[in-house]
């Protein structure tokens, strides 16, 4: 091995030593370092030098002291962002699930929406008039299956709280979805085709809606 090659190998080993010391080396790099440490008398001295750098770097970092009240200030910032934590005894499991769901941007909440939908479907059935009723699961599925509906995709940046507010204000309910593409099936509380078109237009005009596709319309055919 020439002097140049030897130096090159030494350079390589010196480059890897910090990663050997922090325990992150593996595979052929780890084998190369271990072989070098076992065979080259200069290697152990080099390891000692790297250990000194390790200690000095730790000392340099640890002179920096984070503020003692950092956690309490973070907790306040989190409360400001998502609202104060709810007391478990004061809210139902469904309300808690909904609260968590609402804190998530719509773009990352589609999967959660599917799970929540299942919860909503076993909790209540909303008739076209907007009233909630207890129901038998089979009957609920039958009724929901007969309702007029539209297929809606919301914009990824739309906030779930805004979507929920809009749906509530217009007595719209999610009855299916999301698909892999994020498309929901929305029950439309319309008894005539004209009502259906009005509501479909209203949804399409919302800044939070990306796509609205006509589904089943009321039987009068409008």
């Amino acid at each position: 091995m020439s002097a140049a090659e030897k130096m090159s190998r030494r350079d390589e080993m010196e480059t890897l030593l910090p990663f050997y010391l922090n325990g992150s080396l593996e595979g052929s790099d780890l084998e190369a370092i271990e072989e070098w440490l076992a065979s080259d008398p200069a290697a152990l001295a080099a390891l000692g030098e790297a250990e000194a750098e390790f200690s000095s770097t730790a000392a340099a970092n640890e002179t920096i002291r984070p503020p003692a009240d950092a956690l309490s200030r973070f907790a306040r910032a989190l409360d400001a962002e998502v609202g104060p934590a709810r007391k478990p005894a004061g809210s139902s499991w469904l309300a808690q699930a909904w609260g968590r769901f609402m804190a998530v941007p719509a773009g990352v909440a589609w999967a959660a929406a599917a799970a929540l939908l299942a919860l909503v479907m076993v909790q209540s059935l909303v008739q076209p008039g907007g009233q909630s009723h207890d129901f038998e699961i089979a009957g609920a599925q039958d009724d929901l299956a007969k309702m007029p509906f539209a297929l809606v995709k919301f914009k990824p940046e739309a906030k779930m709280a805004d979507i929920a507010g809009f749906l509530d204000a217009n007595k719209l309910k999610i009855i299916g979805g999301p698909t892999a593409d994020g498309v929901f099936r929305l029950a439309i509380p319309a008894t005539t085709a004209a009502d259906y078109e009005r509501l479909r237009g209203l949804i399409a005009a919302q800044p939070l809606a990306e796509t609205v596709i006509e589904g089943r319309k009321p039987a009068d055919g409008g």
């Binding site: 030494r10 350079d11 010196e14 480059t15 890897l16 030593l17 910090p18 990663f19 010391l21 922090n22 325990g23 992150s24 080396l25 200069a42 001295a45 080099a46 030098e49 790297a50 000194a52 750098e53 390790f54 200690s55 000095s56 770097t57 730790a58 000392a59 340099a60 970092n61 640890e62 920096i64 984070p66 503020p67 950092a70 956690l71 200030r73 973070f74 907790a75 910032a77 989190l78 962002e81 998502v82 934590a85 808690q96 609260g99 968590r100 804190a103 998530v104 941007p105 990352v108 909440a109 959660a112």
Partner: protein
């Protein structure tokens, strides 16, 4: 599994479900290192305080999308690095506070004179602090944050080969500075 042994990834899963206790646990585990990482990068503890807080709020927001392709610590360091760079870019002027100014080597002493006043460990610490930032950050990430070559590449968004090159030059500079101060370590 107790909270003390629960893995970071399991805690992130809990955060994704809206568990605030889990985000507080992660804060307690990682805040100091994130804070120091940003403070060393920006030279400002005030910025470090704001950014470290923001990193954990970002953890809260992004937890549902965390795919676990990297360690949680690497993910948090990457967020911190991005936020620090964004803030520094916004500030445009090369802002430096009193604490950072105090860390700059005193030009009244030559390196030799300064070194005579301190032991090798203290000299080494001073030389590490005086490294160019792109070299010092690699040293910090490997020695203090325990990151692998690949993880440093992820945090800094640079190729693995660049991480190795920067580590090589960082250590070479430290060796040369020590040699100039009378501590010859045999390499480079």
């Amino acid at each position: 599994m107790t909270a003390a042994t629960e893995t970071d990834r399991a805690l992130v899963d809990r955060v994704a479900k809206g568990d605030r206790a889990a985000v507080r646990l992660l804060f307690m585990r990682h805040h100091a290192r994130i804070y120091r990482f940003v403070a060393r990068q920006t030279g400002s503890e005030m910025m470090a305080d704001d950014i470290a807080n923001e990193v954990f709020l970002e953890l809260w927001r992004q937890a549902p999308g965390f795919e676990g392709r990297s360690e949680v610590s690497t993910w948090l360091l990457g967020i911190a690095r991005f936020k620090a760079l964004s803030l520094l870019r916004k500030k445009k002027e090369d802002w430096i506070d009193d604490e950072a100014a105090a860390a700059v080597p005193d030009s009244a002493d030559t390196p030799e004179v300064a070194t005579m006043k301190e032991d090798k460990g203290a000299a080494l610490r001073r030389f590490i602090d005086a490294l160019p930032q792109e070299h010092r950050i690699v040293i910090d990430l490997a020695y203090y944050q325990g990151q692998s070559v690949t993880e440093i590449g992820e945090v800094l968004d640079i190729p693995v080969a660049t991480v190795k090159t920067r580590m090589f030059y960082a250590r070479k500079k430290l060796g040369e500075a020590l040699k100039a101060a009378g501590y010859d370590r045999g390499w480079p």
